[in-house]
């Protein structure tokens, strides 16, 4: 459908529709729903848990340890990284 026809149905201007299509304006969800309705379509929004690529089973295991144990592990891990890193080390105290 042309921008002009959609604008006519929506009671707005062709330039207003054009601004939305060219990403110059971000319409509200309600406006988007109305425009899609006028095109004979329904807006469908969905939210689902995002996959960050993080191993949740490892996190769950770590949460079984005490904060001190987590920090001890963190310190040991940091020292391991420092000893194997190609980055220069700052002078010690």
């Amino acid at each position: 459908m042309s921008q002009k026809r959609l604008a006519m149905r929506a009671g707005t201007t062709q330039s207003a529709i054009s601004r939305i299509e060219r990403d110059r304006v971000s319409p509200s969800v309600e406006t988007l729903r109305e425009l899609l309705y006028l095109l004979g379509e329904d807006l469908s929004l969905d939210a689902e848990q995002r996959d960050f690529g993080i191993d949740r089973t490892l996190n769950a295991e770590r949460l079984k340890t005490s904060p001190t144990e987590r920090l001890e592990y963190g310190m040991a891990f940091a020292n391991q990284v420092i000893s194997s890193s190609p980055l220069p080390q700052r002078e010690a105290w």
């Binding site: 993080i54 949460l63 001190t68 920090l71 963190g74 891990f77 940091a78 700052r90 105290w93």
Partner: protein, 174 residues
């Protein structure tokens, strides 16, 4: 903000840095990577960050604790004069130190944090190396990491979101 181009000689000895703060009654909240680790983060951290209350009495206690630890400025010129006293802390706010126990950042404020009182009110109390320490809530850590905006901070934000979710499930017994 730039990514670090060097690393300290060693990771911070968290217990040794926190001990004098507790002993001197300093009002502080643990933030940064070590706070994240105490919440379960796997990302290594190469310094210890604390936020402290800015009232004069607390600044005096902080100075006594820092004096006991032994601190000098990190990253500044060798000949940069630094006098550890209440006036310096009150005038400076945020300090990055090197200590015998590793790098130690002592901050009066941090990007993305709410007021100190709000941060402290939401903090969780955790036993860390035998000390009861207030640790910033994971939600406030997320806000501060978002504000810091470095590559590593963005990765940590994602991990913290997952950790918070796991913690919520664990609390519910799921």
């Amino acid at each position: 903000m730039t990514e670090p181009q060097s690393l300290p000689a060693k990771a911070p000895e968290v217990g040794r840095l926190l001990g004098p703060l507790i002993a001197h009654g300093v009002d502080f909240v643990l933030i940064g990577g070590q706070a994240g680790i105490s919440h379960g983060s796997a990302y290594p951290s190469y310094d210890l960050d604390v936020l402290y209350a800015r009232d004069p009495d607390n600044v005096a206690r902080l100075v006594a604790a820092l004096d006991e630890i032994g601190v000098r400025l990190r990253g500044g010129p060798e000949d940069l004069p630094f006098v550890l006293d209440a006036r310096t802390i009150e005038n400076g706010g945020n300090f990055t130190f090197v200590t015998p126990y590793g790098d130690f950042d002592v901050l009066g404020d941090a990007a993305g944090m709410p007021s100190y009182q709000e941060l402290k009110a939401a903090a969780v109390e955790r036993e860390v190396f035998g000390h009861l320490v207030k640790v910033a809530s994971i939600d406030h850590l997320i806000a501060m990491k978002r504000a810091a905006g470095r590559t590593k901070d963005k990765l940590m934000v994602e991990e913290y979101i997952v950790l918070a979710d796991e913690q919520r499930k664990a609390d519910r017994g799921e």
